[in-house]
């Protein structure tokens, strides 16, 4: 398939996905949906830290302020994980069972892969909106409303450090999303469990709300092969929140883990595709 055709198909798929996920309901509701949920998640962990500060030392102590900033950034960028994992995990179910279009997409020439990517990109955009809004609201709430002087300078972010990490991270998350689509093609009624499991594991092991050094030593090796760990490291480094970090090393690990997930993602997807063709699964409906 020519690159131009691939891009065109992915673009169309993106347009369809955007219509489904964004415009069918009240835009106000959609905006609220994008802001309130991630912000509430952030508030839970932020208040845990504030509680810690109030029990331990002063709420404005340097440690807790620094930690809060570290945590806000991790939690905000975790929105990419949530959006991509949950969005792509239910994609096959929705299009196969509810809209019953998966088989038509599959039998049209070469559209399945760009279709999945296009729909995944909708989740990326949704994730980006959540990230930006969560960061803005965090500064407004903690520094504006609560006067906590958290060292979170959104204008001082090193974009040259931020973008390579974020782009690589998104590619790796899309590759994992690809795997989730693949598993859903060959499985039944797993869509919600899969998305929740992967995002839950990343939340626990990816260094989202606490440094992975606090995890029991026997699970730390798992954290060290997850792209999310290095994605969050590079992001925090670009925000100046990880003074002891080594940006280039983290970026290199991120590139390596991304490459591996990409290769595995494509391989798993192709295997699932073959199996689905063999067993006739492209039009199977999940009935509850």
């Amino acid at each position: 398939m020519a690159v131009a055709d691939f891009v065109k198909s992915a673009g169309e798929s993106f347009r369809v996905g955007w219509k489904i996920e964004s415009n069918w309901t009240d835009p106000v509701l959609f905006a609220t949906y994008q802001v309130i949920r991630p912000l509430a998640s952030l508030l839970i962990v932020a208040f845990i830290v504030i509680i810690g500060a109030s029990v331990g030392a002063s709420a404005n102590s340097a440690f807790y302020s620094q930690y809060l900033a570290w945590l806000i950034v991790g939690n905000a960028f975790y929105a990419f994980v949530l959006q991509i994992m949950l969005g792509m995990a239910i994609l096959v179910h929705v299009d196969r069972t509810r809209y019953e279009v998966l088989k038509n997409i599959y039998i049209s020439p070469g559209t399945l892969h760009p279709y999945v990517i296009g729909r995944g990109l909708v989740s990326v955009v949704n994730g980006a909106v959540s990230v930006i809004l969560t960061l803005l609201f965090s500064v407004a709430i903690f520094n504006g409303l609560l006067h906590m002087n958290i060292p979170l300078n959104l204008l001082g972010v090193n974009l040259l450090m931020l973008f390579p990490g974020v782009i690589l991270g998104i590619i790796s998350l899309l590759a994992i999303g690809y795997m989730l689509c693949a598993v859903n093609i060959v499985s039944n009624r797993m869509e919600f469990i899969l998305g929740d499991s992967v995002s839950g594991i990343f939340f626990l092991l990816g260094g989202v709300i606490f440094p992975i050094a606090l995890l029991p030593s026997y699970v730390q090796p798992i954290s060290n092969v997850l792209p999310i760990t290095f994605l969050l490291n590079t992001v925090r480094e670009s925000f100046g929140l990880l003074p002891t970090g080594d940006y280039m090393t983290d970026l290199a690990y991120l590139a390596l883990t991304t490459l591996v997930t990409l290769i595995v993602g494509i391989a798993v997807f192709r295997l699932a595709e073959q199996r689905a063709k063999k067993l006739g699964l492209f039009d199977r409906k999940s009935e509850y």
Binding site: Y33, G52, A53
Partner: protein, 279 residues
């Protein structure tokens, strides 16, 4: 030819049978696939684990971890209320079952009651699994001075919570994607407001307005009471206001749910939206 009206006893029996059958469907359906059961116990542990580790990181005592485990278990009920009660008519309509409920000679309240009973039993099994697994993995302390009171508060919390679910289900009867979106919207914000993941008794830092908003949710009241009884080792005297508040919630919410259901059903019949799919 006019048929005689069903006697009140016949009506009651029919409705009880319908409620029991709907409960049975929920129990049977949810526990048939082990994957679902394992996931519903295992997945919350991931989030609970993250918060327990965070508490340890910031130096709070292990009882904070116990509070999180109870919160995580109660969230299982809230999630069940949102996805398996509030938006249940949406699923039933999509699968063609709503029509069957509507042409059957039973009150829709008895169907909702069946869903609530099935959901609460089902989720209790999962919640117990979460608590036991949480205690085993994270080794947090509990101090159960009065198990009977814990049981009483727990049951009252469930009754109030599922009555709220019945109200939501009634309100969302005619809605499609809006019901889904609203259920989504009521997840994390309620986790936050109810203090499920942080013990509110430690939290004078939470602004009063937020605490007041959280107290409108029966789960918040129940959670606080259960934590006092099961972690702090307080007696039933400490949670009388909670018990009264939970009873009041149920007494207010039940008639509201009934009214909302009748109103939405007659509105749906008038506008022809009751069985309209793909909304």
């Amino acid at each position: 030819m006019m048929l005689p009206k069903a006697t009140p006893r016949e009506e009651l029996l029919t409705n009880l049978r319908a409620a029991y059958a709907r409960m049975w469907v929920r129990l049977r359906g949810s526990n048939r696939e082990v994957t679902g059961l394992v996931a519903e116990i295992g997945l919350p542990i991931l989030t609970i684990g993250a918060y327990v580790i965070l508490y340890r990181a910031i130096g709070l005592p292990p009882t904070a971890g116990a509070a999180v485990i109870i919160g995580g278990a109660m969230i299982a009920f809230w999630t069940n209320v949102l996805w398996n009660m509030s938006s249940q008519w949406f699923w039933e309509r999509e699968s063609g079952n709503l029509e069957m409920y509507l042409v059957a000679p039973v009150s829709r309240m008895s169907v909702l009651l069946g869903m609530a009973m099935g959901g609460s039993v089902n989720t209790s099994i999962r919640a117990l699994g979460i608590v036991l697994l949480g205690i085993f993995v994270f080794q947090v302390p509990f101090q159960l001075a009065d198990p009977l009171s814990v049981g009483l508060v727990f049951v009252l919390t469930l009754v109030a919570l599922y009555t709220m679910g019945m109200l939501f289900a009634s309100i969302f009867m005619l809605y499609g994607r809006e019901a889904w979106n609203t259920a989504s919207l009521l997840q994390e914000p309620v986790y936050f407001l109810s203090g499920a993941y942080f013990p509110r008794i430690y939290a004078p830092v939470v602004p009063f307005a937020l605490q007041a908003a959280g107290s409108l949710i029966p789960m918040t009241i129940g959670l606080d009471a259960i934590r006092r009884l099961a972690i702090n080792g307080e007696g039933v005297a400490a949670v009388w206001p909670h018990i009264l508040a939970l009873i009041a919630c149920t007494l207010i919410l039940f008639p509201l749910a009934r009214r909302a259901l009748n109103y939405m059903e007659s509105l749906g019949k008038k506008e022809g939206r009751l069985t309209l799919r793909w909304q």
